[in-house]
């Protein structure tokens, strides 16, 4: 005595959920009529809107606002204007030299000897601009598109749009995120279903070497005893299911325990860098004092990418050089240069670079104006991001700031445009990837954003 209602509710979930870990949404409302969207597995890989070049994102987030005129925005006029007043304040040339690198001749600061060798892979977005020159707002705007309201993070939108390829790992991982400047909001899901939120591993300022996912093992029981415990729990759960006439909610609980047990081994395995050769590790700068931490993050990123994680964010800081520019900027660049170069090289050698969108940048840039001889202040009017892989043209400078690097004047690129382009490379139309909340459709780019077609290969 089959029955249409039976089929849609219970039977469908029982049969469809066989291969998947995440099931059973009792109260999810992504439809305006309030009916729960019956998806057997909301995190299963979803079809993109159109075939996208990239399958995943690795975002190297530089907290504090890296100076663009000292790193990736070559300003020869700034050198000739050194010591002069521009717009009322004295400007300072870059203490470092830029030279044209690669076949493309992209000018890159001498602070990046390793990364410069990959100049032909890099697309420099020299015309970036934001709305707020203060850290908390700008950092949150970079991650969520809004500096005023609580909105889902980039990674959550991507997970929502594409699902994840590996149910045994979180689909969106943020390594060493800052606890301040928005904290969990930067990898949060806001009004999107909670399972699209990012998972933080470690925290900025603490060595990623010691970091791992919370609650991955029992301090009281061995793995075998815990399995025995889970068997007991599952027996109870199955009994309950029978008593209460089979229900998707209980199925969800049953599946969640099996998945949790698998995660307890899957996560440490992927985070375990001893599985990599010494040669590989030292190519990333692991084991050397300046580059060890970010080197580990980059190698972890490659391993996570290989394991199917959809959105990986790495954290480095502090790039807020109001003072100590010469010493601290050099140290910062030294800390990321070799690791990032190794990551690009490694992805390329594994044939993964074309499907992996690598992004670099911070919440804003810095002024060419000097602060007390050895510092630069915040500059949200013009700064630089770069992208590599994921179907983006390499060896290209797109967008430009004025002669001194103060304001973006050509091909101005807002965070919204960056977001639209990231989604586009993943095969998602930023105007179509929406979620209904509080009576209207929301999207990462809200009512803004343009895909930068010019930089797409």
């Amino acid at each position: 005595m089959s029955n249409l209602h039976d089929l849609t509710r219970r039977r469908a979930l029982q049969s469809l959920s066989a291969g998947f870990g995440y099931t059973a949404f009792a109260g999810i409302a992504s439809r305006s009529d309030g009916r729960p969207a019956l998806s057997a597995n909301p995190l299963a890989p979803k079809k993109a809107h159109f075939p996208g070049r990239a399958k995943r994102v690795i975002f190297a987030c530089m907290r504090g606002g890296p100076s663009h005129v000292d790193t990736f925005d070559y300003k020869p006029e700034l050198t000739s204007n050194n010591g002069k007043k521009v717009e009322g304040r004295t400007v300072m040339e870059s203490p470092w030299k830029f030279t044209p690198r690669g076949k493309s001749g992209l000018p890159i600061s001498e602070l990046f000897p390793h990364l410069s060798r990959h100049a032909d892979d890099l697309c420099l977005l020299n015309g970036m601009y934001g709305d707020v020159p203060a850290h908390p707002q700008a950092f949150v705007q970079l991650h969520t598109g809004s500096f005023q309201f609580v909105r889902p993070s980039m990674g959550s939108w991507v997970l929502y749009g594409l699902g994840t390829e590996n149910e045994n790992l979180p689909g969106f991982i943020s390594l060493s995120p800052p606890v301040r400047v928005g904290g969990a909001q930067n990898y949060g899901s806001a009004f999107l279903p909670a399972l699209y939120q990012g998972t933080a591993i470690g925290a900025l300022g603490r060595p990623v070497k010691d970091a791992n996912l919370q609650n991955l093992g029992s301090k009281r029981l061995t793995t075998d005893l815990q399995r025995r415990q889970i068997d007991f729990i599952q027996e109870m759960n199955r009994d309950l299911k029978n008593r209460q006439n089979a229900d998707s909610q209980i199925d969800g609980v049953i599946k969640s325990y099996e998945l949790a047990f698998r995660m307890q081994t899957a996560v440490p395995e992927v985070m375990d860098l001893t599985r990599e050769s010494d040669e590989m590790k030292s190519s990333y700068g692991i084991g050397q004092p300046g580059t060890d931490d970010f080197g580990r993050q980059c190698l972890l990123a490659r391993r996570l990418a290989e394991s199917g994680v959809r959105f990986i964010e790495l954290g480095h800081g502090n790039w807020d050089q109001h003072n100590g520019l010469r010493k601290n900027l050099a140290r910062n660049c030294n800390g990321i240069d070799q690791p990032l170069a190794a990551l690009l090289q490694d992805l390329r050698e594994r044939g993964m670079l074309d499907e992996t969108l690598v992004i670099w940048g911070g919440e804003f840039g810095r002024t060419p104006h000097v602060k007390k001889e050895d510092g630069r202040d915040h500059n949200h009017l013009g700064f630089t991001f770069w992208m590599a892989g994921g179907g983006i043209k390499g060896g290209l400078r797109f967008g430009a700031t004025d002669d001194n690097g103060i304001t973006a004047v050509k091909n101005r690129t807002h965070f919204h445009d960056l977001h639209a382009t990231i989604l586009h490379q993943l095969g998602l139309n930023h105007e179509q990837l929406t979620y209904r909340y509080a009576g209207r459709d929301f999207r990462l780019t809200d009512v803004h954003g343009r895909v930068l077609k010019e930089i797409i290969a």
């Binding site: 509710r9 301040r180 301090k219 889970i230 729990i233 209980i250 325990y257 995660m263």
Partner: protein, 282 residues
Amino acid sequence: MVARENPLAARVMVNRIWHHLFGAGLVRTVDNFGKMGEAPSNPALLDQLAVNFMENGWSVKALIREITCSRVYQLSGNHHEKNYQLDPENRLSWQMSRRRLGAEAIRDAILQAGGQLEKTPFPGSVLQELGDINYGRSNAVSFGRKVARHRSIYLPIIRNALPEVLRVFDFAEPSLIVGRRQITTVPTQALYLLNDPFVLEQTEAIAQRLIDSTTDEGERIDLAYTLTLGRPATTLERERSLALLHDIGAGLNGKNDQERQGVAWATLAQSLIASAEFRYLN
């Protein structure tokens, strides 16, 4: 906004209280009344309750009393095939829907089972004692200990730094308006209940309670079920529990008898808390 001729505020409030008591509002889109939301399943009932609410001086207590003393609130959750076929989503309340406990209730129930729940509020503001600081991981741990046993409703809520137990069970995002919380079933919840130090501590407390209460194992098992699930164990469950206790005790190395006992009973208590039955209200 509260004029007699403007029923919106009253209807929204009534609907929210209905949502809390039944798991779903008469209008299911609790945050969205009107054209962009869903229609009420029983508009006459909603209006009547709204009018009563206004006429009772907007008394929430009176409204709750009115609803909880009604027949519909006291319906069982038992399945009824014919009704189910007519109304599978229970829009017309032919049964009391099973619902997942909210985060606060789960935390309180765990504390209650161990006899650890502190039911009185803090004097004044606990947060004020912290002063003007950056609240990060390290002071979260020490601060957490201060508030560890208090009823969840008395916990200070710091945006972007929610206690893990609340976060993992779908606590409302503090910066948003959330009339209807999500209900997720995810491995992080399982990992939390299996491994988190808070749960380990509380189940130790439950174990102690069981051990202190009687020397009879069967009685202890019944007490464990009663404290966590509100009912004694069935015969089969008692057998299974004894088997679990035995296996856990036998598998622990390098511990004396008393320690083994402690861990075994704590593991049983933890398993009951981890079960689906603990978190679903029937």
